[in-house]
Amino acid sequence: MISCTEFIPAYSELFRFLEARDGKKAVIGFWAYISDHFLNNLRDLVAKNGIKGCWLYWHHTLNEEAADFTMELDEEAGEFRINMRHCPSKGRLLEIDHMKPYPDYCEHCDLLYRRVLEPLGYSYEFDSSRTHKAACAIVVKRGKPS
């Protein structure tokens, strides 16, 4: 059995496998597939609860992933933010010394969630400028991107 604690290297290696097979477009195609077929829980929570659905979704996942983060919700303003000080997934990949992580690993967080949230009427910003330090930020706002 592959433990769920080994999933991140398995995921990273899947990106590498797909890229070697069919180029970056195959990796992006996979991310789109995962967004469409695996993120129904986020899609359903936001459809039912509005922007609070983001809080409910990430409150569950980030706690189970033992992330180091601040998460804020302002329902009236229609804003949801995550400041990820240390992403457990990217952090693990950076710590592995016997396996090379997929170089564009963090890009999946941009595509997966944007693809769910924008069609539901939210803008999605992903700050990837600190991913080399396993840090990033997400801002979701009610309303279409300006």
Binding site: A10, H59, A67, D68, H98
Partner: protein
Amino acid sequence: MATLKIDRKAGDNVYLHKDFHGGLSAGLEYVRLRYGEQAVRDYLRQFALAWYAPLTKALREKGLPALREHYDHIFKLEGGEVHFTESPDELLIEVLLNPAVAHMKANGYAISPLFNETVATVGKTICESTPYAMEMLRYEAETGRYTQRFFRRAA
């Protein structure tokens, strides 16, 4: 209208996100549908060669106790139920409760028909370039219960 804020440190929680089993299953299914069954095995072999390289090294150096230690650790971590039968040249692993399959079934995740390869292909790959081999004696897709046998190859 709620205003909520939480601040968490990594040490506040235990790293155990079982929904990742569903993510792995979805990944296998994508590869199967797009590239075929052999591609799933090729991917898992590539992953196992990379990720389990230290375990393969330990198997070469310490023998079957290295495998028992590894699997004992992950089944304890995930709350599985497993029985080990050991002899100097053989390790039988009988999984009575597969926590990956149990979690996916309990939470409505689709289970790839090739999910058994996460045991079979991975087990065989870990043994590559060692004096050992692995054979699957049983895998029940419905429950994920399985029995696998690691053994010393004939000289």
